[in-house]
């Protein structure tokens, strides 16, 4: 597709279950970001992938959160043993990094996670 695609758009799960959220970036974009947007809050940076470099995981809130990016394209964010405070919209964005300058971010529509 032309834009950043995220799935599922909505996910309801029970506390303690694991969830996987998927992001398919714009073709050719080398940079990929995950954010969390809690109700009434701004975006919280989670993790950043750039090409084949090691990801920047500095924003992950706990070791229950992990992400991978296969083949430099699709990324999966995994939350293990979900807690109610994990309920949020998880947004993915990609950009075409231009040397040392990050290009414009293009966002997906997000995955809304509700933990009961």
């Amino acid at each position: 597709g032309a834009g950043v695609s995220q799935s599922p758009s909505n996910k309801v799960t029970e506390k303690g279950k694991d969830v996987e959220l998927r992001c398919d970036p714009i073709s050719g974009h080398t940079a990929l970001y995950w954010y969390r947007q809690s109700l009434g809050q701004g975006l919280e940076f989670l993790i950043y992938f750039q090409g084949n470099s090691a990801p920047d995981k500095s924003g992950l809130p706990s070791d229950r959160f992990s992400a991978e990016r296969t083949g430099g394209s699709v990324s999966t964010l995994t939350i293990q043993r979900t807690q109610q405070e994990d309920s949020a919209v998880y947004l993915c964005a990609s950009s075409l990094a231009l040397g040392s300058v990050a290009g414009e971010l293009f966002f997906g529509e997000g995955s809304r996670l509700t933990v009961l």
Partner: protein, 114 residues
């Protein structure tokens, strides 16, 4: 540490009226500043950005923003608001080398009255 403050949680304006959304930032170096818009159920869309040069930047949809270093502000303006501008607006500050790790404000929700 960098931070962004959007003092107004919610603003209501009449269609056709002018708009100004406030943003104050704290950043240790030359900031890279952004405004994004998020319509209901949508991802964020970049309205405009500033790094250097002219302190008045023009963006999409008729928006502009002015960087004022002395006030650490980057306020967003539009001379005449349209009903379709109703959305949530986020200001962000970051580094030129990694704009995606920007720090975002908590957002301002804009309601447009007919």
């Amino acid at each position: 540490a960098q931070s962004v403050t959007q003092p107004d949680i919610h603003i209501t304006v009449s269609e056709g009226a002018s708009l100004e959304l406030r943003c104050n930032y704290s950043y240790g170096a030359t900031p890279y500043l952004f405004w994004y818009v998020q319509s209901p159920g949508q991802g964020l869309q970049l309205l405009l950005k500033y790094f250097s040069g002219d302190t008045l930047v023009q963006g999409i949809k008729g928006f502009e923003a002015e960087f004022k270093r002395s006030q650490s502000s980057f306020n967003l303006r539009k001379p005449s608001v349209h009903w379709s501008d109703a959305a949530e607006y986020f200001c962000a500050v970051g580094a030129l080398s990694n704009a995606g790790k920007s720090t975002f404000g908590d957002g301002t929700t804009l309601t447009v009255k007919p």
